[in-house]
Every structure is written in C-alpha cells, then in structure tokens.
Amino acid sequence: MGERFSILVIDDQEMNQAVIAEAISGPDRHVVQAQSGAEARGLARNHDFALFLIDIMLPDVDGFEIAAELRTIEEYRSIPIIFITSVAMQPEFMFRGYELGAIDYLIRPIHPAILRGKVDAITSLYWMNRLLQEQLERAERLTEALRESCEALSSYGLDSRSLPGSSPGSAEKQNIEKLLANNKSLLLKNHDLQQKHAAILATIAFPKTKKKRSPKKLSDTRS
C-alpha cells in the first residue's frame, strides 16, 4: 500500500464518528479516530497526520486546547484544521478557531456531502503538494548534475592537453563550447523552475518533508 493521506478525527460521539468516517473515507485516505484529547495526543505523536477534524466539545478538554497543543508539535504547525461544533456558534469561538489556524469552522448538523467536498479539496491540495515536492527534489538533483557537468566541461575545454590535436576554433573545441553553453542555459532555467516550485510550496500549508517515526502503539487506533 502506498502513501495515504492521514486524517485525525477527534470526536467523542459515536454517531458523529460514523457520519464523518463514511463522509471522508477513501482509498487514498487513512482515517484515525480519537474520542478524547488525551487519546488524540497519543495518536498525534505516533502518526503523520495531514488534516485534523476537531469537535469543540470533548469530554476531557475543549477542542481549541487540543488544537493549540497540536500546533506546538513542529510537524503540525501548519497542518489544516477543521473545527466542528453544535454549540460554540458565537463569533468569538469562531475567531478563536481561525486564530489557531483553522481553515473551516463547521456547524452541526453536517451533511456528509458538505464534509466530503471540503476534505476532498484538502486531499487534492495535499497530493499536489507532494507532487510539487517530488518535482522540486528532482529539479535540485538536476541542478546539481548540470553544475558538475559544466565544471567538468569547463576544465576539459581549458586544458589543451585533453584535446589532442585540437586548436582554437577546432570542431572538438566548438562542440565542447556549445555543450557548455547549453548546459549553462539549462542550469539557469532549472534553477528558475526550482525557485518557482519552492515559492509555491511555501504558500501551501503542509509540511515539506514527512517525519520519520517508528510506529509505536497502534493497537488503540480505530480506523
């Protein structure tokens, strides 16, 4: 099984969990459910989540507090959060949610199609982000290879002993100069592309690299 988009749903109500799981599940997703803030903390440390769905009213802590705690974990500093509530509907609660970096604040009852549409959009953004990251890494490798090639060609062309029988203006020398000019042009274009990729990635709210963690206690995961 390849990489999947992992979502942590923090909600203590069984019927809410059933609706959310049905609405957001998919072959490219891994949905993990926590029923309390304490359970969410433990799961967050052992997984790489790319989206949090947090109910505001949890049995042991309010959803804002758990979101603030998750934000202190480096890898979750910019992860999208969707808050869900059936009671905290006043503007001050909504502002608090958005101050914590929420990308949405949903009021129950939630129709499954609405939630699915939102999660689908975030999932697409995630996969585009991953693709862009891969392209950026490829561009970085290509830049490095071109730079090395330019250096090698420069030293080869400057060293007359490397070109037996060649004289200034000879065909071999001209070919090397042409190749060098091509490589330099490619290097500039690739560098420009690399910078554009990096600039786009900087605007998208997903971590640039996946964490490497050893999976620990997964037995308490309901997904």
Binding site: M15, A18, V19, V87, R108, P109, H111, P112
Partner: protein, 128 residues
C-alpha cells in the same frame, strides 16, 4: 436567539413526519450509513429516559449536547435546533425546566416509534 417555544413546536411537528426519504437525504443516500446510525440511535435512545430523569445541573447540558448530535446526524434538524438552543441557554445559566425534559422525552419517544418502523422497511434491508 430564536424562541425555544417556536423551536419546540417545530421539533414536535418534525417528529411526526419522519420518513425514509428525509433520513436518506440527511445521510447523503448512504444506506449503510443510515442502517448503522439507526442501530446506534436505537441503542442510545434507550438510555436517555434514565439519563434525563433527574440530571445534575452539570450533566443536563452534556446529555442535551449528546442527544442534539445524535438527532442531528439523522437529519432531525428542528429537534437538533431546539436542543442546541436549550443547551446554549443552560450553559449561559438558564434554569433547567422539568417541562423541557418532558418535551424532549415525548419527542424522542415519537421519533423512536417512527424510526423503528422505518428500520424494518424493505428498502433498508441489508444486501446479501
């Protein structure tokens, strides 16, 4: 905030007019989800009469909250609105009235009867 009485009247009316179409609309047409929700609701709703008999001032908003989520998931939006209004009031210091508890139980009973009938309808039979 909308009047509790208006919301209560709407909730009573809604409980009498529950049908399969309403439930399927609320669950996006997912019959498996609906079957699952009906099972959970039947189990949960059996607990509410005891829970609501004499709840402490701290417990009452929590029970109302849980019930509001349950009925909202099934698409009883008016009942959920009434419960939401009640919960907000309780959390803001409004007194818990026995008449509110009686109203909740009466609507819940009506809804449970309707849901029991719906859950046995052939359209909701599990595919084998």
């Amino acid at each position: 905030m909308e009047s509790k009485d208006i919301l209560l009247a709407a909730a009573r009316q809604e409980a009498q007019s529950i049908d399969l179409d309403l439930l399927l609309r609320a669950t996006g047409g997912h019959k498996n989800l609906l079957r699952n929700l009906l099972k959970i609701f039947q189990r949960n709703s059996a607990k509410y009469p005891d829970l609501l008999r004499d709840p402490s001032p701290d417990d009452f908003p929590r029970i109302v909250h849980a019930l509001s989520n349950d009925v909202g998931a099934l698409g009883f939006y008016r009942f959920a609105s009434f419960l939401g209004r009640l919960e907000t009031g309780l959390r803001q210091g409004e007194a818990a009235l026995p008449s509110d508890r009686e109203a909740i139980l009466s609507i819940l009973e009506q809804a449970s009867i309707q849901l029991k009938k719906i859950s046995t309808q052939p359209e909701l039979k599990e595919e084998t």
